[in-house]
């Protein structure tokens, strides 16, 4: 379904706010949700479908980016030398102590200033990757540090090199431990991607906002997208449970 041209450049929530300013319209016209219109939802279903697909693939892409950022940061953070460790720690702390929305706006309004004029979608994926990357880095670091020292020492005693120890001893065990929290982070990322609607990326939440502002039907719009997000949430949660059974572990139990 075509997106009306009037909305493509405005930061929508603030225009939504103005709709809400005339509440008498709602209250007199549709008390107690009694004319909740399933027909309109069905009519807008293609738009919601598109939004859902966009949310899924942009979250997947951002998660891949977050893994890349996280692995690099975790590797830097585990070094003995300060040269790498200090910048990595500073980055992680800075990201964790500021809200994603401010980071998003920082990139959205800041990148053009540096001469990078990117589409909103790219800015959004970049922001999500950079934000989640910091959390992923902490998860990976915790996973590697959860491997008992004895394992490393046994590797050393067996005459393994650093790379061999990493490859055959530490990473396979750390991998198992990190999967459940990583899936937890994926859930957070999918939910965070809703914020991209505020820089007018046409994902799931944006679809709900369009229905709310075009037809003055916020209930239909937002309840529908909430249902779609729950679908994604339970999907990922099921996956987390499955992976837990697959690897035969309760999350983060260190075995000796």
């Amino acid at each position: 379904m075509a997106v009306p041209a009037t909305h493509c450049c405005s930061l929508l929530p603030y225009s939504l706010f103005t709709i809400r300013q005339s509440p008498s319209l709602f209250i007199t016209a549709r008390p107690m949700l009694e004319n909740f219109s399933f027909r309109t939802i069905v009519e807008y279903l293609p738009l919601f479908g598109q939004g859902l697909v966009t949310t899924v693939w942009l979250s997947a892409l951002s998660f891949a980016g977050a893994l890349a950022v996280g692995i690099v940061l975790a590797a830097m953070n585990l070094q003995r030398g300060r040269l790498f460790r200090v910048p990595a720690k500073a980055y992680i702390d800075a990201v964790r102590a500021t809200p994603l929305l401010a980071q998003l706006y920082f990139l959205y309004f800041g990148l053009p200033r540096l001469g990078f004029v990117l589409p909103e979608l790219v800015v959004g994926i970049l922001a999500l990757s950079l934000n989640s990357g910091a959390y992923v880095a902490e998860i990976i670091r915790a996973g590697i540090l959860s491997i008992p020292r004895g394992q490393v020492e046994a590797g050393v005693a067996s005459g393994m090199t650093y790379v061999q120890r990493m490859r055959f001893v530490i990473l396979p065990q750390a991998f198992k431990v990190t999967i459940p929290p990583l899936l937890g982070q994926a859930i957070v990322l999918v939910k965070d991607s809703a914020l991209l609607s505020l820089i007018s990326v046409s994902e799931l939440t944006r679809a709900g906002q369009l229905l709310a502002s075009d037809r003055f039907m916020p209930a239909e719009g937002f309840i529908t997208i909430a249902a779609f997000y729950l679908l994604l949430y339970y999907g990922l949660k099921g996956l987390a449970a499955l992976s837990g059974r697959w690897f035969g572990l309760q999350p983060a139990r260190s075995s000796t």
Binding site: R20, I27, D93, T98, Y105, F106, L195, F222, A226, K237
Partner: protein, 224 residues
């Protein structure tokens, strides 16, 4: 050059202070209410009544499964249809309190479950009432598990309060958004907004880490 840019923003500093004040007030109110409600829900959920704990569990899942932005929109735009008139501030407080309560409920449940059953049985055998068992035996021991993620949750709450700018509350993030419309220097403006949040959040992050280390690293999982 940086100095000139900063000077161009100097006029906005009362607005920025108001924004920071709004962020702090919003977070503080919903933090207190959310903690009380969260502990209440957590205790109810472990109380043994199947129906109540299933209902709380479903609600918590509902809140954990949807983006906070969507929750705010739902509260702000849909409650009025049930005849409940809300201004943006009240809607923001309700949304934040609800979010905090749900996450804190999970933390409290994990804490209460970590207390060995022998402790409860001993308290029962000593003839302590239900309330006394909770107040004097279970909760003090559960706090060891609860405290570090609780502080971490406060950090998340302060950060999530930025999302209420979407319904027009002038918090710190919204101030940045407003200023950037006039002074097109997104880099500096949102850097300063970030500094504002950092000043509030970073001490809490440090506190959470410290508590985690002190309470034994084994239990120090961050709840997201």
């Amino acid at each position: 050059m940086i100095w000139q840019q900063l000077q161009s923003l100097a006029g906005s500093y009362p607005l920025a202070l108001r924004g920071l004040g709004m962020t702090v007030v919003l977070s503080l109110i919903s933090l207190v209410l959310g903690t009380l409600l969260g502990f209440g829900l957590g205790i109810l959920r472990t109380g043994g009544n199947r129906l109540i704990s299933a209902a709380i569990g479903a609600w918590v899942d509902l809140i954990r499964g949807t983006p906070f932005l969507v929750q705010i929109f739902l509260i702000f735009f849909i409650l009025p249809e049930f005849g409940i008139e809300l201004d943006a501030f009240t809607a923001g407080i309700i949304a934040l309190t609800n979010l905090a309560a749900c996450f804190i409920c999970e933390i409290v449940v994990a804490g209460i479950r970590s207390v060995p059953t022998g402790q409860v049985e001993a308290a029962l055998a000593s003839g302590l009432s239900r309330w006394q068992r909770m107040r004097q035996v279970v909760l003090p021991q559960a706090m060891r598990i609860v405290l570090p993620p609780l502080v971490g949750q406060y950090v998340l709450l302060i950060k999530d309060s930025s999302v209420v700018s979407a319904i027009g509350l002038t918090d710190l993030t919204r101030v940045g958004w407003l200023v950037v419309q006039r002074v097109p220097n997104g880099l500096l403006v949102f850097f300063l907004v970030g500094v504002g949040y950092f000043i509030v959040c970073y001490p809490l992050i440090m506190l959470a880490r410290r508590l985690e280390r002190r309470m034994g690293a084994a239990h120090g999982e961050v709840q997201l």
